[in-house]
Structure formats: structure tokens, C-alpha cells
């Protein structure tokens, strides 16, 4: 047993880099779960699709930016399918996501040809890689912490702009009050589909980055992704509840949430806890964080009732 602090500290940059990349995924989940008020389970499939597309295209010698763009588009396509299942075929959003996720398993295997596709830094110029951190000797602008941070700033800026436009406001209205949105002439079905596409596009982009970072795409890499995304969102909203009113700051908090999640995960694995327990632990953490606002509101109501009855007694 070696529980040295230095081992933990040296593992931190890797954990933070992973958190940053998953933060992009968390932003995608935020768009469906918080903005559109839909729990979209497509992401468990999309979280592999993006990586599969990216790695296979890179192995075929395509330029990096094209690979990332195609990953993003593939994710949007997955979101489109879920959106159509939901709006055009009347399937509940959660079930529509599960159906697409199921179908994506086959699609992902077809894209990769095998359950796993590896890519090596020795033969390919990767945009982000764990080895840029661990090997040493790479300039700072190749450090994943720096590169992914730039990505995140660009994504948050673009989303801040988009959700401020007439179209983006329409998507927000659909999530905030469906009845009101229809009464104000918003094509609610169209905007739900748009939101789902945007969300899954970002998830696929995150997937493309994470598979480069770890050096492979794997058919199982998306399993349980929604829980990690939700963890980022709920931890992020607890952080944001105090001070972040601005949309960009809220998204930033989601990224922070993902980073915190991966730091906790790193600590857990540093403590030599059986990795088989991790999924259970994640589920419990997310369940607790989701319960906090509910418990808070109940507590607030009870306190209000005690206060008023108490006041009545005095008078």
C-alpha cells in the first residue's frame, strides 16, 4: 500500500484534463437537462460515436479538424434521430433517447469495425493526449489543460451568443414553459430537435477529444456517460446557485463540476478502492446531489409553516 500524497498530486493534472474534456460533455447534457428540460439518454451512445468517427478518420489519414467536425456532425445526427422519434413519432423523450442509444451500439461497431480502435501518438499528431502530460518535454501550448481550456472558452462563448439570439431564446422558452412557447408562436417540436442536435454534437466532440486523450475509442466508453454528465451539471448548479446568474458562468460551473467529479474519482482510486464500486458510487453521488434542491425546498416550506403558526400564537 502506498498512499503517498505525491502520487496523488502527480495524478491531478491528468484528472483535471479528463474533467475538462468531460466538461464539454456536461455542457451538452446541460442543454438538454436544464435548458430544454429533457433527460436525454442518447448521450451514452453518442459518447462513443464521436470517438469512433474521429479515431477511424484519423487512422485513414484525414486532417484533425475535419475529424473533429465530422464527430460533431455525427453527434448532431444522433440527436436528430432522437428528436424525430420524440416529436414526429410521439415517443416520450426518455424512451426515444434509449432507443437511439441502443441503435448507436450497432452504428458504433460498424464505424470502428471492431469493439476497440487504438491510435498512437508515435504515428499520429494528436490534439490532446495523456502523454503530453506524463511524458514531459512538450511545450505548454500542447498541454491538454491549455488546449481543452481554449476549446471550452470558445464553446461557452458560442453558446452564450446562440442562446441570446431569437432562435436560442426560443429554445429556452420551450424548456421554460411549453404552453407559453406555443402560445407565442414558437415551433416547439423544431426547437426541441435543434436543442437535442446541438447537445449531442457537443457530446460527440467531447467523445472525440477523450478518445484521442486516452489513445483509443472503445464500444463501452459511453456506458453510464449520462450519469457523469448529470454529475457535472448538478455539482455545477450547486456551485452556481450562490453567485452565477449569467448563462456563461453557469456553463463554466458545469465544467468545474466535471473537474470536481474527476478529482474525486482520482482520490477514490488513489485510496485503492475497488474500481468495481465506482459506478455505484457515481450513482449515489448524483442521486444525493439531485435530492438536495428537493430536500431544501421541503425544509424551507416546513420552516415557513412553523414560523407562521408560531407568529399566530404570539398574536
Amino acid at each position: 500500500m502506498n498512499l503517498s500524497i505525491s502520487a496523488l498530486i502527480s495524478a491531478m493534472p491528468g484528472a483535471i484534463a479528463q474533467g475538462l474534456i468531460w466538461g464539454i460533455m456536461g455542457i451538452g447534457v446541460y442543454i438538454t437537462y436544464k435548458v430544454l428540460d429533457i433527460a436525454d439518454l442518447t448521450v451514452d451512445g453518442t459518447m462513443c460515436t464521436g470517438g469512433a468517427v474521429c479515431i477511424v478518420m484519423m487512422l485513414a489519414g484525414q486532417p484533425m479538424w475535419l475529424c473533429l467536425l465530422c464527430s460533431f456532425l455525427a453527434g448532431m445526427l444522433a440527436g436528430l434521430i432522437t428528436g424525430l422519434l420524440h416529436t414526429a413519432m410521439g415517443i416520450s423523450a426518455i424512451l426515444a433517447g434509449i432507443l437511439t442509444q441502443m441503435a448507436l451500439w450497432t452504428v458504433n461497431l460498424q464505424i470502428m469495425g471492431t469493439p476497440n480502435q487504438a491510435i498512437s501518438l508515435n504515428n499520429y499528431d494528436l490534439l490532446v493526449s495523456l502523454r503530453y502530460i506524463t511524458d514531459g518535454g512538450y511545450p505548454f501550448y500542447q498541454n491538454p489543460l491549455f488546449v481543452v481550456s481554449l476549446f471550452i472558452i470558445a464553446i461557452i462563448a458560442a453558446l452564450y451568443w446562440f442562446f441570446g439570439t431569437e432562435m436560442g431564446c426560443g429554445i429556452r422558452a420551450v424548456g421554460a414553459n411549453l404552453n407559453m412557447a406555443k402560445a407565442q408562436g414558437i415551433n416547439t417540436n423544431l426547437y426541441k430537435v435543434l436543442g437535442l442536435m446541438l447537445s449531442n454534437g457537443l457530446v460527440a466532440l467531447s467523445s472525440a477529444l477523450i478518445s484521442q486523450y486516452q489513445g483509443f475509442a472503445d464500444i463501452n466508453m459511453g456506458r453510464g456517460a449520462i450519469v457523469i454528465g448529470l454529475a457535472a451539471v448538478v455539482i455545477g448548479s450547486v456551485l452556481a446557485s450562490k453567485w452565477a446568474k449569467n448563462f456563461a458562468l453557469k456553463l463554466f460551473c458545469v465544467v468545474l463540476g466535471a473537474i470536481i467529479y474527476y478529482i474525486v474519482l482520482q482520490i477514490v482510486s488513489w485510496m485503492r478502492i475497488n474500481p468495481d464500486y465506482l459506478k455505484m458510487l457515481s450513482a449515489v453521488i448524483v442521486a444525493l446531489f439531485l435530492a438536495v434542491p428537493y430536500w431544501k425546498s421541503r425544509y424551507a416550506v416546513r420552516r415557513k409553516i412553523t414560523k407562521t403558526t408560531g407568529g399566530g400564537g404570539d398574536a
Binding site: E166, C169, R172
Partner: protein, 264 residues
Amino acid sequence: MLELKNIRKTFNAGTINEKLALDDLNLTLNEGDFVTVIGGNGAGKSTMLNAIAGIWPLDSGSIVIDGKDVSRLPEFKRAAYIGRVFQDPMMGTAGSMNIEDNLALAARRGKRRNLRWGIRAEERVAYKEMLADLGLGLESRLTASVGLLSGGQRQALTLLMASLQHPKLLLLDEHTAALDPKTAAKVLELSDKIVQEHGLTTLMVTHNMRDAIAHGNRLIMMSNGKIIFDISGEGKKKLTVEDLLQQFEKASGMQFANDRALLG
């Protein structure tokens, strides 16, 4: 301005709960008509408004607004012609968005939404003036979340949003029923003012007979999915609650005993 031709709607057709909600109903509104709608529970008042708004398709019949047949248009497309205020103050506004965002959404009703910024600076100035006209102190709270407003404030805001685009038709569905009497009176007064200012053709459903008599230039009474009484002009001005109760008894007979309590 509005023509309802033989509109018919049955809910839960073929089941034990089958209910004929609109029974080949006919109604024509002239431009600038302010019509109050009364009737017992289940008479079809709200159903008629929902039919016009396009919440669900009709079984048969047609709806024409300003010469255009909208019977087959989905709800969001009909919204271009219609402003609506609902009974539930939560329903007409987005609580998690702020006041100016809600107004800006309403200002774009019936227009293409594209990638221009969602609200312009000159709009803000205009909204401030309109909110000041409401006399509720909302003009200094443009960026406050609508969820923080009271029910009356939210209804007033919904009213403003509904009338912002000067719609061909304004539908008020018991929009003061969920408010306390004082606030309800204030919102009704605002409704009157806004309707008159823009000369809006309006349908207002209410449970309150006195309100139905005091407002508008025409009154219709519904029962079992039909219009059973329709009065306007001088006749309406002389109308009393007693007259209405008598009319109700005459037209609907047996029903009256059940509905008297609700209408009184």
C-alpha cells in the same frame, strides 16, 4: 373577424367518458367586438377558446380568422393571429426567464426567429414605457426573473405580451379567476384599457356574471357546447344578473338547478 362554422368536438369518443364538448357551434365576431362568455361548468367555454387556439384538431367545422381558414393550422402558427391569457398565471409566462426576455419572445410572435440578437435596445425602451403604463412598478425590473412576480403581476405581464403584437383576436380564459378580488379587479381594468386602446377583437370567458355584464359590447351564454343566449348593444347595457339567471333557466331548463350555485 372571427367565424366559427359548425365546430364540433367530442372528447374520449367511444368510451364511457364520451363527452360532446362543442355541438356544431356557430359564432361570428365583428372587428372590435369585445364579447364576454358565461356558462356553467362543462358548458364548453374554455373548450371553444382552445378550439380557436388550436390545442387539438376539430372533429368537424371550420374556424376563419380575418378571412383566413385556420382550421388546419397547428397551434404555434395560429399564434400569429391570436393573443392568449390563461386562467393559471404560471401558464402564460416563462418563470425562469426575465421580464424583458418574455416580452421579446412575445414581440416575435408570428415572425421568423433567426440568429439576430434576441432583444434590441430600442425594444427595451418601449417595454419600459408599456410596463410603466401597467402601474405595477415593473418598469424598473426588466431583468428580474418572472418567477419572482406575484400572480397578478404575471397576469398583467401576460396580458401585455398577448396584446403586444396587436393580434386579430384576444382570448382571455377566466384570466382573473385565480386572483384575489382586488387584484382581479385591477387586471380586469387593465384588460379593458388594453382592448380599447388597440380596438382588439376579444373573447373573455368569466364565471362572474357582474363582470360579464360590466365589460364588453356583447355577451353570450353557453350550455352543453352550444350558444344559448346572445345579446349586444343596448340590450346588453340594460342587462341584470336576474335577467341572465332567467335566460339560463329558460334556455337550459333542468340544468339550471345544478348550475345556479356556480353562476350566482
